[in-house]
Structures are given as C-alpha cells and as structure tokens.
C-alpha cells in the first residue's frame, strides 16, 4: 500500500508543476517511539551519536509523524560564465589528437608612409609588404572522472525522500567539467 501520493500544488517559473507529497493513512512505519513501540517511550535521540542530525549529510534522517518532506530540493549555486560569449570556442576540434598545432599568420610591412611615391616612373624602387607564419603546439589533456552508485543507494534514497542520486551524480560530474574549463580559460 502506498502511503504517499504526489499532488500538484502550484507551478514554478518554467510552468512545470510543483508536486508535494500528501501523506495518507499511515506514515511509512515512521514512529516517534523507540523501535516503534509505544511502551519504550518517545525517541528523543535526534542529535545523539549514531543519528543523523538535520545538517549532516545523508538521506537517512530521523523524522517524526508530523515531519513533511518538501518535494523541491534546494540545489547548489556556482559562479558560472558562458565562456563561448567571450572566447571563440571550437568544441571537439582535434579532441582525440595528442597535440594541437595552431598556425599563426602575420602581415609584415613598414610604415604606411614608406609607400609614398610621385608617379613611380623610371623603374623607381617600391617598398614591399610580406607575410610570415609560425605555429604554436599545445598538448591535449585527457580528462575523466568516475561516478558510481549501488542499487541500495538508489532505492533507499528514493524511498527516504525525493532525491535521485544517479541524476545528481551525472550533473555533479558535468558541473565539475564546466567549472574546470571556466577556471582554466579565465
């Protein structure tokens, strides 16, 4: 039997429905009594060693029957800049090469006024412009980070509240990449 269903209670800025859990007849075996038995007395161990206090990390949190778990999760905010708005960015160009060689071309000439002539008659000598090229070689750095999860983590986190560890771990890795590129280009 499900103890909770999700009811739409409003809409966020993107027009997406905000759903909040509504508790039905029982509260998923959570109890305010020690070991769930009334004769043991009220469980007051919230901040005792061995129990996870509110600010500690972990999805296993001590609650009582009047605890309401919000659907919305507060996420981290990072200082982010859209790199491509400021720097020409070519994604994937030579990604799996060992080195990237970029040619740099130059236009070689003296001052504008050195080209002043009258009519250029009688095989008069003329100043000249030329071009040059050099190159810059940069090593390609391979980057990889891992994420892992267990079936128990996924299932227990979903039972405990509304947190999807798989999605969050993928997002964390992508954010790590984004912030790393931002840091190395700034």
């Amino acid at each position: 039997m499900k103890s909770v269903f999700f009811q739409t209670t409003g809409y966020d800025a993107q027009g997406k429905a905000i759903k909040e859990p509504v508790f039905l007849k029982h509260t998923n075996n959570r109890s305010i009594f020690k070991n769930g038995l009334r004769e043991n007395g009220v469980d007051l161990r919230l901040n005792a060693a061995g129990d996870t206090a509110e600010s500690a990390t972990g999805y296993q949190i001590v609650t009582d029957t009047l605890t309401y778990i919000k659907k919305q999760i507060s996420e981290q905010k990072f200082y982010e800049v859209p790199i491509a708005d400021f720097i020409p960015t070519a994604v994937g160009d030579g990604a799996f090469a060992a080195n990237l060689l970029t040619n740099r071309t130059y236009q070689v000439a003296d001052d504008f006024e050195t080209g002043n002539i009258r009519t250029g008659a009688s095989n008069s000598r003329l100043a000249q412009v030329d071009v040059a090229i050099d190159s810059k070689t940069l090593k390609v750095v391979n980057w990889a980070k891992a994420i892992d999860y267990t079936i128990f983590d996924i299932e227990q986190a979903l039972v405990a509240n509304n947190w999807d560890p798989i999605e969050q771990k993928h997002r964390a890795r992508k954010r790590n990449w984004d912030l790393g590129l931002q840091k190395s280009l700034s």
């Binding site: 060693a49 500690a56 990390t57 981290q76 990072f78 227990q156 954010r175 912030l179």
Partner: protein
C-alpha cells in the same frame, strides 16, 4: 574542531570527508561495528580489528594515535555518516585513497596518524610525532597548510607498535 560541511553557494565543488578517490580502490570491505562499543564512528574515522564472535569482519574505533594497529578508515556514503554500535560500515583498508581532514599542516609524503571523532567533531589526521608508539594510518598524497583542510591519504597501516 567542528564537522566538515558543504556550502550551497560556491565557486567550485569541494570534497567530502571520507570520500574515496582514485578509484577503483583495491580493498574496501563491509565490516561490523562492535555492537558493545561506546565509541563514535563517522566518515573518516580510523578503525581497528578486534577479537570477538562475529560472522563478518569485527571492528571498533581507534581511540587515538597510540591505539591500533589501524585496519582502515570509514568511507563517506550517501545514506548516513554517523554510526551506532552494531551498524555495518564500509571500510577502506590498505592501498585505498581516502579524503581525510588535517589537524595541522601536513607535508605531501608524510606518514599520518588518526585522532578519533567525538560527537560533533570530525576525526583528523596529523603527521606522526612519536615513531615508536604511534600506529600509522597512511601516507599523505596532498599537502595541507593548516588544520581543517581535506587531503587525500593513501591508507598504509603499520601493523606493529613502531613506524
């Protein structure tokens, strides 16, 4: 020393105490926290093997640098990071890389010893100060310039009373 916490607004992501690094780790095992222990264990705590009847690996908290030998350290996990006696706990043993917290400056390559967690305070590591009486937890892979910093430690316990 307070407990290490995350901040919601940051410039870059930060580590978590007890997080494993450099995966795959060669030796992370599930162990039983001595059911009659009165100690506090959390992510980053050093643990030792103890005698007693148990179908699994029976461990208890290391009370300080002179208690040991160290078997491994408790790893961070998503579910809960403060443990009661009788809990089953994942422990990173020798050869694993784990993020631990410094109690003072630590040089890269230094051998470190563990100080136990107390309620509300993280376990910490420090450079070994008495080679003949302290049990090594591992080798510092990163540098810590002050207390309260997270650094990677390669778990390399010493198995006798000397370094």
């Amino acid at each position: 020393m307070a407990q290490y916490t995350q901040n919601q607004n940051q410039f870059a992501q930060t580590l978590m105490l007890g997080q494993v690094s450099e995966i795959p780790n060669p030796d992370v095992v599930s162990a039983l926290f001595n059911p009659s222990s009165s100690a506090v264990l959390q992510n980053g705590s050093a643990v030792k093997l103890i005698t007693g009847t148990s179908p699994g690996i029976l461990i208890d908290a290391v009370s300080g640098p002179t208690d040991g030998p160290v078997f491994g350290v408790v790893t961070y996990n998503l579910r809960k990071n403060i443990y009661s006696a009788g809990d089953t706990i994942e422990v990173a043993a020798g050869g694993s890389y784990v993020v631990l917290e410094s109690s003072a400056a630590i040089a890269r390559g230094a051998k470190v010893v563990s100080t136990a967690a107390t309620t509300g305070n993280d376990p910490t590591v420090a450079t070994v100060s008495s080679a003949s009486t302290q049990y090594i937890t591992g080798t510092a892979i990163d540098t810590a310039t002050a207390s309260g910093q997270l650094l990677r430690v390669k778990i390399q316990p010493s198995f006798n009373g000397t370094v």
